[in-house]
């Protein structure tokens, strides 16, 4: 399975891709929403996108709306991974079309549990 990780922090991209690769994902990275759309438009359409909220150029919410307006990307699962953790914001992200929401800080187990809920765990994971 493939995953696109979009976050303006390189350190955070490395943490998230590290967890996903450990679970068996093939990953690509992007530094903001626009770069993320470039990857998708280039034809690399993954099963999963993990996207931060606050980023320069194009934020995560705008990215989610852009993805949801393109029927070709309907099968993609979007998981917000962000330190934005107000109740109303989680509601907004879900309404825009995100499937799941992981609040920073998170542990590797949290990502794994969410992927299990979404049926996106590639292999039997171990502690």
């Amino acid at each position: 399975m493939r995953a696109l990780v979009i976050d303006d922090s390189r350190a955070m991209r490395r943490i998230v891709t590290g967890i996903l690769e450990g679970l068996g994902y093939e990953t690509q990275q992007a530094g903001h929403g626009r770069e993320g759309l470039d990857v998708l438009e280039g034809g690399w359409v993954p099963e999963l996108v993990c996207v931060d909220w606050n980023m320069p150029v194009m934020d995560g919410l705008q990215f989610v709306s852009a993805v949801r307006s393109n029927p070709a990307w309907r099968a993609m699962t979007i998981m917000m991974v962000t330190s934005e953790s107000e109740h109303t914001q989680i509601v907004r992200a879900l309404a825009a079309g995100a499937h799941e929401y992981v609040i920073k800080p998170f542990t590797a187990d949290a990502i794994r549990d969410k992927l299990a809920l979404l049926g996106l765990l590639p292999q039997e994971a171990v502690l």
Binding site: S9, A11, N54, S83, T88, K104, T107
Partner: protein, 170 residues
């Protein structure tokens, strides 16, 4: 008619809360502890003790704009910020850390702590992208909530500080 100034009158339209009415040090500390466990490492604890004053300080911060407006500022020594960066990057850590690497990682820690501080405040607020460098000075000494913590024996302080000067007293 005699009026007694209880402070109630100042809570009207032109008044605004100071941070100490909205959050306490224990909450900030527990937010930081969670961030450290998740980002820095499972065994990485922050000890709530003041340490040696920081020499060669570097700060990272995010701004919060809403019913309360100010910044969440993390400050530590440059060496400690580098050590934090290495802990975050683990095996991806380059041989020689560039300023950019430290700004990125230390800034992300401010983002995570700041986002959770913001969510613990009442109402809805906006959050800026992180900034790294010399910390903005507090504008109002009454509008600051600060915790001093030790990580691997080095001081890390977190200051949640208002961006606006004190309102003139009536």
């Amino acid at each position: 008619m005699t009026t007694i100034d209880t402070g109630e009158r100042r809570r009207g339209a032109e008044s605004r809360p100071v941070i100490t009415e909205l959050i306490d040090g224990a909450t900030i500390e527990s937010i930081a502890q969670d961030a450290w466990i998740a980002l820095v490492g499972e065994e990485e604890v922050l000890v709530p003790l003041p340490g040696e004053p920081v020499t060669d300080p570097v700060s990272s911060w995010v701004d919060v704009v809403g019913p309360w407006t100010g910044s969440v500022v993390l400050t530590t020594g440059r060496r400690t910020a580098e050590e934090l960066t290495r802990a975050l990057l683990q095996e991806h850590s380059p041989e020689v850390l560039e300023d950019e690497d430290v700004a990125d990682a230390f800034g992300e820690i401010a983002n995570v702590v700041g986002g959770n501080v913001k969510a613990a405040l009442p109402g809805s607020s906006g959050l800026s992208l992180p900034d790294v460098g010399e910390a903005p000075a507090p504008r109002n000494p009454d509008d600051v909530c600060r915790v001093d913590l030790l990580w691997r024996g080095e001081t890390v302080s977190i200051s949640v500080q208002g961006a606006l000067p004190a309102l003139p007293a009536h």
